[in-house]
């Protein structure tokens, strides 16, 4: 490397944002959102709902009533913190572990169940029609976010694309290429990295030697910030600032939300094969939901009865969704052709007919 006789031509820094300690106590001056009881409760409610739903989905899978399911446990602050920082007209490009974001955006739980239950109709959802379906091939949707943001820029619309993906995705060219172009074009896009430490069995240190994922943005020419991904206030505040910055034409940002995947990768995975129960136990102490609850109790007079009502309400909502899902009739086989093209080419009419004959 060049020695000190040569000039330094660039310096960078990466900051880490956190507002709430694991016990819910404020670490620093809180943003205005945190002083608005109604808004904090709405975040908390959605986090509890997402977790209640997640637990239910796992038990449905275990009893053979749902397909392989990607567990969201512990990701509630990232997904809900990010989605709550968007406007409805903004476009969400989620990954497969982002149910919290989908729920915040208005996707119904029975629709999420339908998708994981093996029915495409789950993606024809009640959430914003312009949002993307969850991307299963890891990171492959990051260039779509750049494309969506390019469309906004082209039409001079004050809108923002928000793209969620995990730490594993940052190893893929797709993500880098999307960031690179977004930087060059100053696109209105926010990349939110759900850094949950594990890509199935591969830990972060085998994924990247970079000190932070946030700093990967610097090479693409825009700012990256790390936040405590178990602190919904921090995630929301960081993403909200980034979204508004992008909306005003400032260009992209990357928010690395550091959290932990408390569950298995999916119901087909057994994380005990590659990480110790002790590690997971330790990480439970930092989990995002009890943190908000402690904060609400200590700072916002959140009462036991309010808590009980909320929990019961979430359970009722989940149960209702499960009922709707379980009652859904399979779609007729020939519908597998219905959305192949805008108009089914006549050459496929016979095949479509054939599907219903067997």
């Amino acid at each position: 490397m060049a020695d000190r006789n040569f000039p330094v031509i660039a310096r960078f820094e990466v900051r880490r944002r956190a507002y709430l300690a694991p016990d819910g106590s404020p670490l620093t001056e809180l943003p205005s959102l945190a002083r608005n009881r109604e808004r904090v409760v709405s975040l908390y409610r959605m986090m509890v709902l997402a977790r209640t739903f997640d637990m239910k989905a796992v038990s449905l899978q275990r009893t053979g009533r749902l397909g392989t399911y990607a567990v969201s446990l512990g990701q509630e602050a990232v997904t809900i913190g990010a989605a709550s920082a968007m406007r409805t007209e903004d476009v969400l490009l989620p990954s497969y572990r982002d149910n919290g974001a989908l729920l915040w955006r208005g996707v119904k739980m029975e629709e999420i169940l339908l998708f994981w239950g093996g029915d495409e109709r789950g993606n024809h959802w009640s959430g914003p029609a312009h949002d993307f379906p969850p991307s299963i091939p890891v990171g492959s949707h990051a260039p779509h976010a750049a494309g969506v943001a390019s469309a906004f820029k082209y039409r001079k619309e004050p809108l923002v694309a928000v793209c969620l993906f995990g730490d594993g995705a940052t190893s893929k060219g797709d993500v880098w290429e999307a960031m690179n172009f977004s930087g060059v074009q100053k696109l209105p896009v926010v990349f939110v990295v759900n850094n949950n430490q594990w890509a199935i069995s591969v830990p972060l240190q085998l994924q990247t030697a970079s000190e932070t994922i946030a700093q990967k943005a610097i090479a693409a020419g825009f700012a990256g910030e790390q936040v405590d991904g178990n602190d919904v206030i921090a995630v929301h505040a960081a993403v909200a600032e980034a979204v508004e910055y992008a909306r005003k034409g400032g260009g992209p940002r990357l928010i690395e939300a550091v959290t932990y995947r408390l569950g298995d990768h999916t119901t087909a995975d057994d994380a005990s094969r590659y990480r110790s129960p002790d590690e997971v136990k330790q990480r439970w102490k930092e989990e995002p939901i009890s943190r908000v609850r402690h904060y609400l109790v200590a700072q916002m007079h959140w009462s036991k009865s309010e808590e009980e009502v909320l929990l019961k309400d979430c359970e009722r909502q989940v149960d209702q969704a499960v009922e709707v899902y379980l009652a859904s009739e399979p779609r007729p086989a020939q519908t597998m052709f219905d959305h192949l093209y805008a108009t089914l080419p006549s050459v496929y009419a016979a095949q479509r007919q054939e599907t219903s004959e067997w």
Binding site: V138, D174, S201, W358
Partner: protein, 326 residues
């Protein structure tokens, strides 16, 4: 001789290859500590060390590109792609590099690599986990494409693939990863690639298939046999380059042919076989060639996947119709 599943047979062949050749290295996503999401590499890292069996970052392009570089250096890399639906970032490496390194350098550099990937539907997997796009890969000149149909064949063909001096894409049918068991002896004996296996002899009709569909095709022959139709069944096994002589010889004998594959029909590998027969054995044919395939639509999510895939009744009906022709 132990009774092994197909995934165990893959594991055994990998262990054998690692044992016999220090140049063999095995890597991919989750293949190390976790032993692969299907456990195909289970125990290999413990046994052969993390320099030879290791986890890569999450990047399929990287896995395939590493294979090319290592292979050119004389190693024998075996890369794992977790599901065929995630292999597409490797297409650049396969089409532009792996398949043509030998040709580009006129033999100065070669590419003895194996890229393994699960293949096909039928395990109620999530979106993008049920692909059967073997024809796309078999279209690439310079590659070998292999799909075993049983544990025994998986063992022998994978050893062949690893020992082969050229790049091989090795597709493992997930539907039969654990459903069937064979007695597999770890003799280190390879099965030949580029050779089709006559699975069952018969005089009336030739049924050609590969991978998981072979089982359904064989099942169909039982019902056909009950109605007096004796079908010959060919397991194509290697799609690229494939054993034309066995196909043509069988059709010359039976005069009738049904090709079965779960991939979509248009441009599927069945079209290639039908074209070969039309070109070289037209006058042996007593009936039009029939394909029983997946439909020309996206493989549906699990609720409808069985309606998409060829079923035993569909194969039986096609074979009967072909036999009744003329």
């Amino acid at each position: 001789m132990p009774e092994l599943t197909l995934v165990d047979a893959v594991n055994l062949a990998l262990a054998r290859a690692l044992e016999e050749d220090p140049n063999v290295v095995v890597f991919g996503e989750d293949v190390g500590v976790n032993g692969g999401v299907f456990r195909a590499t289970n125990g290999l890292q413990q046994r052969f060390g993390s320099e030879r069996v290791f986890d890569t970052p999450l990047s399929e392009l990287l896995i395939s590109g590493l294979c090319v570089g290592m292979a050119a250096q004389g190693l024998r890399p075996v890369g794992e792609i977790q599901f065929l639906g995630f292999l597409y970032p490797c297409i650049d490496q396969l089409v532009n590099h792996a398949s043509r390194l030998r040709n580009r350098t006129q033999g100065r550099l070669t590419c003895p690599m194996v890229l393994r990937a699960p293949h096909g539907a039928g395990i109620r997997a999530p979106e993008h986990h049920s692909e059967a796009t073997e024809a796309m890969l078999a279209h690439i000149p310079g590659l070998r494409v292999v799909i075993p149909s049983s544990p025994e064949r998986a063992y022998g063909l994978l050893l062949s693939a690893i020992r082969d001096p050229d790049p091989v894409v090795f597709l493992e049918p997930t539907r039969i990863y654990r459903s069937a068991k064979d007695l597999v002896d770890d003799t280190g004996e390879a099965l030949p690639m580029d050779v089709a296996f006559v699975e069952r002899e018969g005089r009336d009709i030739t049924l050609i298939s590969w991978g998981a569909m072979l089982k359904d095709t064989l099942q169909a022959t039982e019902e056909l046999s009950r109605s007096g139709i004796e079908a010959e069944v060919i397991d194509l096994a290697t799609l690229k380059p494939y054993d034309e002589q066995t196909v043509l010889g069988s059709v010359a004998k039976t005069g009738r042919c049904v090709i079965v594959h779960e991939a979509a029909r248009t441009g599927g590998f069945g079209a290639e076989i039908a074209a070969l027969i039309a070109e070289r054995a037209l006058l042996s044919l007593l009936a039009p060639i029939t394909r029983v395939t997946g439909y020309d639509t996206i493989i549906p999510l699990p609720r409808l996947e069985r309606s998409y895939m060829p079923s035993v009744p569909r194969i039986v009906a096609a074979a009967r119709k072909t036999c009744e022709f003329g």
